[in-house]
């Protein structure tokens, strides 16, 4: 590390209270939404027996995927030895922990029986990728917590690289597990593919880095601490590479499905006839969330403007949410093929029909509450401990812009 001076954020200032208060409102609103849904039962949400995972899952999966990606900046420093990124590593790890906590909170609070969380921690069916994920998520806190310790405690520098390596391998496994939740679904044509695991890893790189950039720029802006162009521009170009990687996997996923006759139906649904899902896919995920950020981040003139990098990062986040929405909700809206070779003339349970889903306000508020939880953790973390360098100017990080 470049002997960068790390400073905790001064707490108890008026600005600090205002920001924390705002985030606390978000968090408490999320808890209120949870209470409302839990008390009345899930019939007050947009979820049904046809679309069983709704908006909370979109937020939860997005945050969990982004969490592992947020760790990337630290991994690049510790595992791949890029010194430029070293001052950013502690924030990267803290953000990873915070996003995972936010995502898991949403996931757990949307369970039918969240009071049985202890059951999920004590009863394991090891054939279930969900059960493995419970272990991977819990382990992530331990492994990344250890990694943070090696970064903050200057007496154990020799442990930093092995801890970083362990965290890197763990996060790759974790995202493989998250993608495989969908990849292992044998009967759903929208999922059921090995590509879900690498696709989710690519998504995590992009979503995590986009959120990292936003938090970094907003934080340093609010604190008035210097943030040089060298770091931002390099991170921005890296984000472009990750966005392109997601596009690549999305293209391969759909091309493969377009080749397989029995999957033409689901492809036509997502790509052409799916209404809101088709619109979200093309307009938000592809154009706004991928192509526009690529232009902003790869154009040599545009990328130098801080506002463009922020806009591109925000678009990647919005496009990412749209992508997860299309995957989770769109994949369920398309009807299960229970009777191949038969047309369903009538059914008591809506067989063969496109299933409607409209997110309810409590579901959205619960999801936003998860973001609130993540940001509160980041804020308290950077206030209590020395996660942030006093300066990230080009001179301080030893780089040329």
């Amino acid at each position: 590390m470049h002997n960068a001076a790390f400073r905790s954020v001064p707490a108890y200032t008026s600005g600090w209270f205002v920001l924390l208060g705002g985030l606390a409102v978000l968090l408490l609103a999320g808890l209120g939404a949870f209470y409302y849904m839990e008390h009345n039962g899930h019939h007050v949400t947009g979820m049904t027996n046809q679309v069983v995972w709704g908006m909370p899952h979109v937020f939860a999966v997005f945050l969990i995927v982004a969490a592992s990606g947020a760790l990337n900046v630290a991994s690049i420093a510790s595992v791949f030895g890029r010194k430029l990124y070293k001052p950013l590593a502690p924030l990267s790890a803290l953000l990873a922990l915070a996003l995972l906590a936010g995502g898991l909170a949403v996931l757990v609070l949307d369970l039918g029986r969240p009071d049985r969380l202890v059951v999920a921690m004590t009863h394991y069916n090891f054939k279930s990728i969900f059960a493995w994920n419970v272990i991977l998520y819990t382990g992530f806190f331990v492994v990344v917590g250890l990694y943070v310790w090696t970064m903050l405690d200057r007496t154990v520098p020799h442990l930093q690289k092995p801890a970083g390596m362990l965290a890197f391998l763990w996060r790759l496994t974790l995202t493989t597990g998250t993608g495989s939740i969908f990849g292992f679904l044998v009967a759903r044509e929208a999922y059921n593919s090995a590509i879900m695991a690498p696709l989710f890893i690519a998504m995590s790189f992009a979503f995590g880095l986009a959120i990292f950039l936003l938090v970094l720029m907003a934080g340093y802006g609010m604190l008035g601490r210097p943030l040089g162009d060298a770091l931002v521009t390099r991170l921005a170009r890296l984000l472009a590479v990750f966005v392109a990687a997601v596009l690549y996997f999305v293209a391969v996923q759909h091309l493969t499905n377009l080749y397989i006759t029995e999957r033409h139906g689901v492809e036509a649904f997502i790509l052409r006839d799916g209404g809101v899902y088709t619109l979200l896919f093309w307009a938000v995920q592809i154009v706004l969330g991928s192509l526009l950020p690529l232009v902003l981040l790869l154009h040599p003139g545009l990328v130098r403007k801080r506002a463009n990098v922020a806009l591109a990062s925000l678009l990647v986040v919005v496009g990412g949410l749209a992508q997860v929405y299309v995957i989770i909700i769109g994949g369920q809206a398309y009807p299960l093929e229970t009777f191949p070779g038969y047309e369903v003339v009538a059914s008591g349970f809506f067989d063969g029909q496109t299933h409607a889903y409209t997110p309810s306000l409590p579901e959205i508020v619960l999801g936003l509450g998860g973001i609130g939880i993540a940001l509160v953790i980041v804020m308290l973390g950077v206030s209590a401990l020395r996660f942030l360098p006093a300066s990230l100017s080009d001179e301080a990080v030893g780089a040329e812009a």
Partner: protein, 246 residues
Amino acid sequence: MSENSCEASRRGFLKGAAVAAFALAPGVMLVAGPAPARPPHVPARETQRWGLLVDTTRCTQDCTACLSACRTENRLHSFNRPQTDPQWLRKVHLRNESTGAEHHLPVMCQHCAEPPCVDVCPTGASFKRADGIVLVDRHICIGCRYCMMACPYKARSFVHEPITDQNPEVPRGKGCVEACTLCVHRVDRGEVPACVEACAGNGNGAMLFGDLNDPDSEIARRVRQVGTRQLREDLGLNTGVRYEGM
């Protein structure tokens, strides 16, 4: 149409092995379902595989005897919210895309030998009993709904709101996932599932319940003799519910 209209066609009632009385030997009569009642302390046996055979040539569009019986037996009350109401058993009307042939059939949990719902359940709440009946342990179901994502048959539903007036033998609860139990409480008493009984009584005698592993059972004989199909046979799940006439 009312269930009474089904009474006109009670063919097959006596054919059903289910509620028939057999004379085994002079002086010995067994009046029972497909197997004697299983005392509570005796575990379910792996040598048995409970199954259901639906003759789609007998099942008619207007008959809802099985649906009513299922709802009554398991006290599946509607909240007039079809999208979130319990979904244990439904009738479907299918048309063969190439031949135009039409079929009516009841569809419920198919009680797979290799159930995807059991594979994906994180806590093991979704489980298969030794005798092949797939159930949900309501004590350790956390309501994650992953089994509903995994089931190829839309056989499971989530309890979306508080429920009252339960059948003590069929415990249910808000926030848990549930599905057809093959009326396991009746089967353990030596009776047949409520839908099968109703189909034989008020319906068209289209359903046959029994032990697929017992070569002498009526259901085992039928699946040996006539062509039957499993739904999504391509998935290789080896369902306990079979259909003939499709």
